[in-house]
């Protein structure tokens, strides 16, 4: 099996889309000659040409909206919003339109649009460039939200996205592009809405997605040193959400902590926590723990920024303290 960076897995996923489906094309800022702000479309312009790899002006509203317009009438566009922070200037197109056109047209219209974007903080880019809004998008009926944590999943889920007829937010974490992982040569797909057990365990379940999966895995390793066995679940998608896998795990461990990068108030961890207690209250030995960033905009100063993003030590402490382990 070949090892691959997540960045390269995404490049492969996009090349497949362009090679296999002539209805697919890319639009976004700096994706052409530059090869994408995170180098995912490097070499694409030369290979596929300007018609299919289109550099756009700084006009998120129009290139997302044009993606919607084009998807409705039979194309399968893939647009790249440089970071999730800039989806905010295209929010009407996404929430009021992409997400609702199927419903509002009584199913006559479909919007097979993939909006790729880069999420997360930790790069000292401060308040307006370090956010994670996957949880917001996941709260909107009509949108699918995919949040891969490994190269294998990024490629496998992207393949499924291409076959899906819904608008999809495909959020790639900025700090994961250089993560290396195994990706088989043979074709495979990862279905949307199927969580992954990243590490099996028996004492506590750690639920995470995107950049926080690695944090949870690190925490699990540290807890392991104290003979506490953690099961790490990577949600992979926030919509559709695979609650079953989480519940199965909770039945085994009876303890669960959810780790999420974004602010605690309104965090998706709240939704999951509530779903768990509704579905498996009697299985729980204690309250569901939510480990989120504090309700503060991301600061620039490195020494502070690091305190704002859940770390493995933070997870370890919280698990031990809250569950008396």
């Amino acid at each position: 099996m070949a090892e691959m960076l997540l960045r390269d897995a995404m490049s492969k996923a996009l090349r497949e889309a362009l090679d296999e489906d002539d209805r697919s094309f890319l639009m976004g800022e700096d994706i052409g000659a530059y090869g994408g702000a995170y180098a995912v479309t490097k070499g694409f312009l030369e290979k596929y040409g300007e018609e299919r790899v289109r550099d756009t002006p700084i006009s998120e509203s129009v290139f997302v909206g044009a993606g919607v317009g084009s998807a409705i009438i039979g194309m399968r566009p893939i647009v790249e919003v440089m970071t999730i922070n800039f989806t905010l200037v295209a929010m009407d197109q996404i929430i009021n339109h992409a997400a609702k056109l199927s419903y509002m047209s009584n199913g006559q219209m479909q919007v097979p649009l993939i909006i790729r974007t880069v999420t997360g903080g930790g790069g000292q880019l401060a308040a307006t460039h370090s956010q994670s809004f996957e949880n917001w998008f996941a709260s909107v009926p009509g949108l699918r939200v995919v949040v891969p944590a490994t190269p294998y999943d990024a490629l496998g889920m992207f393949r499924s996205c291409r076959k899906n007829n819904n608008p999809i937010i495909f959020a790639e974490h900025a700090l994961l592009y250089r993560v290396r992982g195994e990706v088989p040569e043979e074709y495979y797909e990862i279905p949307l809405g199927k969580a992954r057990i990243a590490k099996p365990g028996t004492d506590v379940t750690l639920v995470a997605y995107s950049g926080m999966v690695r944090v949870a895995e690190e925490a699990a390793a540290k807890l392991g040193e104290d003979n506490i066995s953690s099961e790490v679940i990577d949600l992979r998608c926030l919509s559709p959400l695979d609650l079953d896998t989480v519940i199965e795990s909770v039945k085994k461990t009876n303890r669960v902590a959810i780790v999420e990068e974004t602010w605690k108030t309104g965090g998706f961890s709240g939704t999951i926590a509530s779903d768990i207690q509704e579905a498996a209250f009697d299985e729980l030995d204690g309250p569901v723990i939510r480990i989120n960033g504090p309700d503060v905009p991301a600061p620039y100063a490195r020494n502070i920024e690091q305190l704002m993003i859940p770390s493995s030590d933070w997870v370890v402490k919280s698990v031990k303290y809250n569950f008396g382990l």
Binding site: D30, T56, P57, L125, A127, T128
Partner: protein
């Protein structure tokens, strides 16, 4: 009008000193980034004449500048010290714009009339228009300048702001620093026309395209736009054609999308060199004075670097403050 617009020698010399200081500071910050001390930097090199020439036409501390990340010279000429600016980059205690919370050069200094809140492109332009609306409603003769790049001119916020300002004849100057690129995307892929200024007519305001490396042209054009704004005649769009000598930011590699010849060509109109030549030729400056100006700029920047590097990192407890107004 022409005669009282003639820039006095003294002012030219002052602007030159500011430009030398800014260039020296800019080079230093870039170096601090390369040393791993400053997380990110967007250089102003090649933009300085546009920034310094326009600020010189303003009433400092009264008029308001809504700037963007590349406006180092605006910050400096409005009154921030090099040490204060460097502290922003290295995220140290005592950084006056945001308390080291925000991206370098971002935050606000109300006393100097400078606001740079977000680096989401073009989002500050509507706010500048709001400030202009307020000045008009309060019957103050304050002028607001919104600085932005050519790339920003494609954003909906920019169009909406210009239209709104023209309708209400607001005292705002839209100052576009056109360096021909939005990161890697050249002008030809940003717009079908060859300039931004031409759009002004469609909104109902004057639009003037100038050589943004010619500090006299920048100054004189801004003086006129300021006069229009102050006397209730409404907004002006100034497009200053400038150059960006360095990559988009310290994270960028511009060799992917432009040739070194292109940069060499652009350096022929280096605003710093052009102004220097003009001053020497007109005998406003001699070589000895020039050397002194460069040396003292270096000294100022050295001291500032030392001060910033020796400053402590910000207190961690402070950072929960000011999420909400108190």
């Amino acid at each position: 009008m022409e005669t009282n617009l003639k820039i006095q020698d003294e002012l030219l010399l002052k602007m030159y000193e500011e430009m030398v200081l800014c260039r020296t500071l800019d080079e230093r910050i870039w170096m601090l980034n390369r040393q791993g001390k400053a997380a990110i930097m967007a250089s102003s090199q090649g933009h300085e004449a546009g920034q310094i020439g326009s600020v010189a036409a303003l009433r400092k501390g009264y008029d308001q500048c809504y700037i963007y990340y590349r406006d180092l010279a605006v910050l400096l000429t409005l009154g921030l010290t090099p040490a204060e600016i460097i502290k922003g980059f290295v995220a140290k205690e005592g950084e006056p714009l945001s308390g080291a919370r925000q991206f370098p050069t971002h935050g606000a200094h109300p006393e100097y009339g400078v606001i740079n809140l977000s680096n989401v492109i073009a989002t500050h332009i509507p706010q500048a228009v709001g400030a202009a609306l307020t000045a008009k409603m309060k019957k103050e003769d304050r002028v607001i300048v919104a600085y932005f790049g050519d790339g920003a001119s494609s954003a909906g916020d920019c169009h909406e702001a210009m239209n709104f300002a023209a309708i209400h004849k607001l005292p705002v100057i839209f100052f576009c620093e056109n360096n021909g690129y939005a990161i890697s995307v050249p002008l030809s892929k940003q717009m079908a026309v060859d300039n931004v200024a031409g759009r002004a007519e469609g909104y109902g305001m004057p639009g003037i395209e100038i050589d943004g490396c010619d500090i006299v042209a920048v100054y004189e054009t801004t003086v006129e736009a300021v006069a229009r704004a102050r006397t209730g005649l409404g907004p002006t769009l100034i497009e200053a054609n400038v150059e960006r000598y360095l990559p988009h930011t310290s994270d960028d590699d511009d060799s992917i999308y432009r040739s070194s010849q292109e940069i060499e060509e652009a350096k022929k109109r280096d605003p710093l060199r052009l102004l220097r030549e003009q001053l020497l030729e007109r005998k406003i400056l001699n070589l000895k004075e020039d050397k002194y100006i460069h040396e003292s700029a270096k000294e100022i920047v050295n001291k500032a670097t030392e001060e910033a590097e020796n400053a402590p990192y910000p207190e961690t407890t402070d950072f929960f403050k000011h999420v909400y107004a108190e």
